[in-house]
């Protein structure tokens, strides 16, 4: 049985390259997927006997292609049946197939497969679902469970998404350098969506797995584009965030904020990898939003305790991020750093101008509540927390705010008159 586990792992790792190459041959997603499925079935029969091939992807591509051509021939009632020698004499054929797959094809194949999931007409959740289905090879049942919808609904969603991406075939042209860079950027954004879908899942283990899947695919992307500092930054960001998984929720599934987390529970291995990657990325002196966010996460990872956090540096990094990607949410995050460096009053001044644009944003009111609480303005804190709880996105978020409100009413019961 450990044989099967090993084969399963090898097939999963080879999938993006194999399906990507088959898609280049057949220019049709369904045919490529069917060909891959066929090849996997033959692998399950062949590999336990003959051992896994040295290059699993090349094997699957060749066998899958033959199987699909075979199917086409049969359908067209072509009398000529392909000889089974092709399969019995794989060692030879495998070498030839492997040498034919040149590295740049491989890169563009995998990139194309990822890129077709980023179709601009697909909403984020459908991009994620499509990528999980065709790139990661998760079953519809698995994806449906992660999104908490029925299998039928997810099946329908994926079918519709496939039909949409199947309509255009511009993606099949070999991309020029500019277009390739654009594809990499679009794919990076999509992979970060996959990660965040998992990261925001709270303690739903099905969905939390998406973090691992996003990390795996981003590593793959970085292996293909080794010198891209933003991809290093993105992978570092994912690794550093996911290193805190075990510390982020208490036994009841409630959020534990960074300051209150048991840092002993942080996973040192992804932290080491994340720090190494951000180190590498910064040498390029081409800062981008992922690198800056990763650098911020790295400063948290490096601090043995909350009191050791280098908030001055974090404030400076958020200032850079505000310049690169101006948004009220970035300013809101910067305000947290400002509150540590210059005090809650300064932070409140900073977020005051955002109150219109972030009127319906949970974190805005959560932070406003916390800052007012720190200043002893209990009525203002209560108002902000009341607003926040109404806007909470998950039960865990609501429960967290509820704790603040409960503590407020216990320690500072509302009085008539000024608070």
């Amino acid at each position: 049985m450990s044989d099967l586990a090993w084969i399963d792992a090898a097939i999963t790792a080879a999938r993006p390259q194999a399906v990507g190459a088959l898609l280049r041959y057949f220019r049709d997603l369904d045919t490529a997927e069917e060909a891959f499925q066929d090849a996997c079935l033959r692998a399950l029969k062949n590999w336990p006997k003959n051992g896994p091939p040295r290059d699993a992807a090349a094997w699957l591509i060749m066998v899958g292609r033959n199987a699909a051509l075979d199917g086409v021939r049969k359908r067209s009632r072509d009398a000529e049946l392909p000889s089974e020698d092709v399969l019995s004499d794989l060692d030879d054929a495998e070498e030839r197939a492997a040498s034919r797959i040149d590295e740049s094809d491989y890169r563009d194949d995998v990139l194309r497969l990822l890129f077709i999931c980023c179709h601009p007409d697909l909403p984020a959740t459908q991009q994620i679902a499509l990528a999980l289905r065709i790139v990661s090879g998760l079953s519809v049942v698995q994806i449906a469970r992660a999104f908490l919808v029925s299998e039928a609904a997810m099946e329908q969603r994926i079918t519709r998404a496939k039909r949409l991406v199947g309509q255009g075939d511009a993606a099949f042209e070999t991309p020029g350098p500019v277009e390739r860079a654009e594809r990499v950027a679009a794919v990076a954004a999509m992979l970060y969506l996959v990660f965040n879908e998992g990261y925001s899942a709270g303690d739903n283990p099905e969905r939390a797995q998406l973090c691992g899947e996003a990390i795996r695919l981003t590593r793959l992307l970085l292996r293909m584009f080794q010198t891209e500092p933003e991809i290093m930054g993105l992978l570092a960001l994912m690794l550093l965030q996911s290193s805190r998984t075990a510390a982020r929720f208490d036994a009841d599934g409630q959020v534990i904020l960074l300051d209150d987390q048991d840092r002993g529970l942080w996973d040192r291995k992804p932290i080491a990898e994340g720090l190494a990657l951000i180190d590498k990325a910064m040498r390029h002196r081409r800062p981008g939003p992922y690198q800056v966010q990763a650098a911020i996460a790295a400063l948290h990872s490096r601090a043995p305790s909350p009191a050791d956090t280098d908030w001055t540096q974090i404030d400076a990094l958020y200032a850079t991020l505000e310049r690169l990607t101006p948004s009220p949410v970035v300013t809101l995050n910067r305000a947290v750093a400002v509150s540590k460096v210059a005090g809650p009053e300064a932070a409140l001044d900073m977020i005051a101008p955002l109150s219109d644009r972030l009127a319906n944003y949970f974190y805005f009111h959560g932070l406003a509540g916390a800052l007012n609480l720190e200043l002893g303005r209990h009525e203002a804190a209560r108002t902000a927390f009341d607003r926040a709880i109404a806007l909470a996105n998950t039960p865990a978020e609501a429960a967290h705010i509820r704790q603040h409100l409960d503590r407020l009413s216990r320690d500072h019961a509302p009085r008539s008159g000024a608070a």
Binding site: D55, E103, R216, R219
Partner: protein
């Protein structure tokens, strides 16, 4: 005889193991390692981060710093063990035992010319604050 046992495998597969799988493999390898350490046959061993975290320094003039590993290969160098065993036969037996605990890939058994133990390092401190 001192040998380095160099571990090669497809890192895309190995680094896709989930935490449980990874812990299981490490526990099985730990059993073999413990036994050999107690018998005085196992020196330091280490596991490398993926090649995506690697940087290559080419000693050209001027030197060239390149992202990524020295060689792009189907299987990557993932770590190594230092063995102090009688002969190649015994080294191959260790490879066999480790291979049972963690199937897939290959071990290169390379006799050592020089071994410097160096100063003791503290990996826990090294990965924490700087």
């Amino acid at each position: 005889m001192l040998y380095a046992l160099l571990c090669y495998n497809d890192e895309a597969t190995v680094w896709a193991w989930d935490k449980t799988q990874d812990a299981e493999v490490m526990a099985r390898l730990g059993v073999v390692r413990d036994r050999l350490e107690k018998a005085g046959k196992m020196g330091p061993s280490l596991r490398l981060l993926p090649t995506t975290a690697a940087t290559t320094f080419r000693k050209s003039d001027p030197p060239l710093v390149v992202d990524g590993p020295y060689a792009e290969t189907k299987e990557q160098l993932l770590g190594f063990y230092i063995l102090d065993v009688a002969d190649l036969e015994e080294a191959l037996q260790v490879a066999h035992d480790l291979g049972e605990a963690n199937p897939g890939g290959a071990y290169e058994i390379r006799p050592l010319a020089v071994y410097n133990a160096g100063a003791p390092v503290d990996p826990a401190a090294a990965s924490a604050a700087r």
